[in-house]
């Protein structure tokens, strides 16, 4: 019997290629392509008075210089608004090259194409752009004040405004025995994959435009480019090669460069490529996270939330191509595993003179979890209750599943949790981190003059959002099983995980299965890789396609072996009669028989030719049947599936330097049935590292004029190995009832509660309230000073001097 691969920690198929330098990333595919470079705005807001390219044209090797004036057709129109929403009343998207105005530092103003990148950059430096600077709007506070406008025709800088409410939260709060008001804020960070964006395009003499692009959504890039360049879809092919990390930023499309490079390639009749450099990535890709939150909560004496009223001000940057997704996710996913009696969420999405804001791993959830978990900690502290206990009292119970939160989620469908067991997860977490024993440890540490604290953060994550993904499974006469799905891969090990699923479903050896993702030549219909959806969506799609192939194989084998297909099984690539392994036929022979032939292409193919044995009373291909042992199927869910997790951290803060050390970090996690625990664990590790970065290190430091002061890896502090704690993990598997494989997504999970957990732990160590993330040692030091002056509120339990004992 073949061992079941689903659930096994299989080594990745991708790796032998990637560890030997045989990966094929975007910049590896440029070949003899011409190189593009961009002139970008040094101003956050300015009018372009003049662009002088005279000196640049004199640079040897320069073939073309383009400005907005040169763009034609739909390329001269603004980039598409990807996700319209009724609440997005004032959408603005950029032009591929700035038209008259620039709205953030880094906005592309001119494009140079030369024989080589060095020369293209030489020329770009010689282009003289005369700007008339205008006032910039930087940060949520300035955007909210709206003394200056980012776009003159957008009053109040408000791109969109949405209210969602279940029950009457404000009434509940007025009537509640206790209320608290919290003001919470989060600064900007970014996906920051180690490979930036990039695109290479060439049009072959037959008129096929092939584009390689480092994207999370190749099929959507194809549709967008066909529309922009006014080409029939079948003349545009888009391939996502190996992608060196995405984390959200590469779901945005088409980028200005993604339109301009193919446009220029067609115009010049030459291959053109562009690889983003690091500074460009900082100032012209996308950021996320910056939001202000005002939480008004009413609760009873047991800490149960009666009314929760949350207002959010979201900084969306200068344009809003990705719509309102991030604040929608914040305001819906904020609820986590809890069930306040009434909930009201209102957000404003605000323009600022900064680079655009689009989803970065977690996509608004880290801010939501931060706001909710800060609130839980505040309630616990106010009532003198254990922080874990207050959470437990507000949990949705397993017997309440499916649980309707009464809101609309980011997929436009009801926010209905499908399954989960939050009390059990909390118990696991408390056990893993030693929650109940922590006070003993604190007392010991205190006796040594050390300050330690413990923190907790819970979340529920809507994953596997629709609308659909598809899978194609083909058994070749060679016995190779070729699988294709449209969504892309950026390191998630899809070639391995999807091969595990197909090998199991079909009954073939793992090594015979080859998976291709993100190549529109192989699969044309797809949405993309984001929102922890790939395993759920394409995993189920390839499973369904494999089942269809299996049905067909059994039917053909049944004819050949003259047995009922119901009596057949496929084991290790051989179709055989159950209980009689001698009566068998190889699956690859079935693949030959599936395609009735006139011409044999090799010896094995002779069995399928017209004078070979066959039922002459029927046509070779039956009605509703098709040649070939292959099938395509799609998985389209009714709504999202909801994974959950809880993290805890123990930190130590240095009494003198305010240095923050992470002593332990524990994760419990439930993403339904697990395809590959090795890959899952890797996803969690990576997510936690980004959570650590977001809580303790990473921020985008814009000055008041809109200059990004830390646009390099020297100044933007991404964690190295020395900054990331060892992650202790425990799992639960509550299957999703929504899909055939019972799986939920996991990609973003690790990062979501990071800020919440560290705020909780540092606050616990320090004894005063934290309301802003990230926090650096120097900021903690200043908070201590301000606390000593009575300007930062103490925790009640710190004043009582009797922490965490009253539960």
């Amino acid at each position: 019997m073949t061992t079941r691969l689903f659930g096994a920690p299989i080594q990745r198929k991708e790796d032998p290629r990637l560890v030997t330098g045989n990966g094929r990333y975007l910049d590896d595919l440029t070949g003899d392509a011409l190189a593009a470079a961009f002139v970008r705005s040094p101003h956050a807001h300015a009018r372009i008075v003049d662009i002088d390219v005279t000196d640049a044209l004199a640079v040897d090797g320069v073939l073309a210089i383009y400005t907005y004036e040169d763009l034609d057709g739909r390329v001269a129109e603004p980039l598409p608004l990807l996700i319209p929403h009724p609440g997005l009343t004032h959408p603005k998207t950029a032009y591929p090259l700035a038209k008259e105005l620039v709205h953030h530092v880094g906005e592309a103003v001119a494009m140079v194409v030369a024989t080589d990148r060095y020369l293209a950059e030489d020329a770009a430096e010689l282009i003289r752009v005369d700007y008339d600077p205008l006032p910039a709007v930087i940060g949520v506070a300035a955007a909210k004040r709206a003394e200056r406008l980012v776009h003159p025709d957008v009053p109040g800088n408000v791109a969109g405004h949405v209210v969602q409410e279940r029950g009457d939260a404000r009434e509940e709060i007025i009537a509640a025995p206790h209320t608290l008001l919290l003001s919470l804020s989060v600064e900007r960070s970014a996906s920051m994959p180690l490979e930036g964006r990039g695109v290479v395009a060439r049009e072959d003499p037959g008129g096929i435009l092939r584009i390689y692009t480092s994207t999370q959504a190749s099929t959507s890039v194809r549709a967008a480019l066909a529309a922009k360049l006014d080409l029939p879809l079948d003349r545009v092919e888009v391939v996502a090669p190996d992608v060196g990390g995405g984390f959200g930023v590469k779901i945005v499309h088409p980028w200005p460069e993604e339109v301009l490079v193919p446009w220029a390639a067609r115009r010049l009749g030459r291959a053109v490529g562009w690889t983003e450099d690091r500074r460009e990535h900082f100032v012209s890709s996308a950021h996320e996270r910056e939001q202000e939150h005002l939480v008004n909560v009413g609760f009873d004496a047991d800490g149960r939330i009666l009314g929760l009223d949350v207002q959010v001000w979201h900084d969306n940057g200068a344009y809003i191509p990705y719509g309102l997704i991030v604040p929608i996710i914040t305001t819906t996913q904020l609820l986590g595993p809890y069930k306040p009696r009434a909930y009201r969420a209102e957000f404003w999405s605000l323009y600022t003179s900064t680079v655009i804001v689009t989803p970065y791993r977690g996509a608004g959830r880290p801010q939501g979890a931060f706001a909710m978990e800060r609130t839980m900690d505040a309630i616990a502290d106010y009532l003198g209750l254990d922080r874990a206990e207050v959470r437990a009292r507000n949990f949705i119970q397993p017997d309440e599943m499916p649980y309707e939160q009464g809101l609309t989620f980011q997929d436009g469908r009801p926010l209905t949790y499908d399954s989960g067991d939050y009390p059990a997860l909390l118990e696991k977490l408390k056990k893993l981190i030693g929650w109940d024993e922590f006070e003993t440890f604190r007392a010991q540490a205190r006796a040594q003059g050390r300050k330690v604290g413990i923190g907790i953060g819970c979340y529920v994550e809507g994953t596997g959002v629709g609308p659909y993904e598809g899978g194609h499974v083909l058994v070749e006469p060679s016995g190779r099983v070729r699988v294709a799905t449209g969504l892309t891969s950026q390191g998630q090990g899809h070639q391995t995980a999807f091969a595990q699923i197909v090998a199991d479903e079909l009954g073939v050896p793992f090594d015979s299965v080859e998976v291709v993702t993100g190549d529109t030549r192989r699969f044309r219909y797809s949405i993309g890789t984001f929102a922890s959806r790939a395993a759920v969506m394409s995993g189920n799609a390839v499973a369904l396609a494999a089942r269809a192939v299996k049905d067909k194989a059994l039917r053909i084998a049944g004819d050949a072996l003259e047995v009922d297909p119901a009596d057949l099984e496929i084991v290790d690539g051989v179709v055989r009669v159950k209980g009689d392994p001698q009566a068998s036929i190889e699956l690859k022979t079935v693949a030959v028989l599936a395609n009735p032939l006139r011409y044999a292409f090799d010896e094995a193919a002779q069995v399928a030719t017209q004078f070979a044995k066959g039922d002459i009373s029927k046509p070779p291909i039956g009605e509703d049947d098709e040649p070939g042992l292959e099938a395509t199927d799609y998985y389209s869910p009714l709504r999202s599936t909801f994974a959950a997790g809880m993290h805890a951290a123990i930190v130590e803060t240095d009494p003198q330097t305010a240095d923050i050390r992470v002593l332990r970090y524990a994760v419990v996690h439930d993403c339904g049935n697990v395809v590959n625990p090795r890959i899952l664990e890797g996803q969690i590790h990576g997510g936690v590292a980004q959570g650590v970065g977001g809580a303790l290190y990473e921020r985008m430091a814009y000055d008041a004029s809109g200059q990004l002061l830390n646009a390099s890896f020297m100044d933007f502090l991404m964690p190295y190995a020395t900054e990331v704690p060892r992650v202790e993990i425990d799992h639960m598997e509550t299957p999703s009832p929504l899909n055939p494989l019972g799986i939920k997504g996991a990609g973003e999970a690790g990062v979501i509660p990071g800020m919440a957990v560290f705020a909780s732990a540092i606050e616990d160590a320090e004894g005063f309230v934290l309301s802003r993330m990230p926090i650096s040692p120097s900021e903690l030091y200043h908070l201590r000073v301000r606390h000593a002056r009575g300007k930062v509120v103490s925790l009640r339990r710190a004043e009582v001097g009797n922490p965490e004992e009253s539960a």
Partner: protein
Amino acid sequence: MSERSERSDYQQHGEVTLTVNGAPRRATVPVRRLLSDFLRHDLGLTGTHVGCEHGVCGCCTVLLDGAPVRSCLLLAVTVAGHEVTTVEGLTDPDGTLHPVQQAFVECHGLQCGFCTPGFLTTTAAFLAERPDPDEKEIVEAISGNLCRCTGYQNIVKSVRRAAELLADRADQISPAGLAQP
């Protein structure tokens, strides 16, 4: 709009003769060409990746006479006469993975794989010098390389595993270009 025909007289060029992955290579390149670009685009060794071009991320790490260097911070003409080992050069000519490569595969020490060549070359040089490191030394050794995917935990595990695999192969000859312990 400004388009014009192609011309191609570059700036000053220099000749580079060096050994790459055990093989002598000679090329004439602009003197300002970075070693990383030279390896990738002139020699076609695209396993060396470029993540920041300011020497911080470590993706472009190669071994120069056995010691790790940032190839984005060196000009190709300055390494004339020297020996460079890239990630491609870690693999045996018969395709057998270097123990460090093998360990990263076994321990899921990579996800997207973009930073991986830098970690592999760094680790190979580190273990050649320090064959039996403890965890603290491992973390220190890889703390000049950024990875955005893995959270480093499995990279640390991979380095430890690589040390074991290397010890198993202790009698065999080190791959070309690596410093002898």
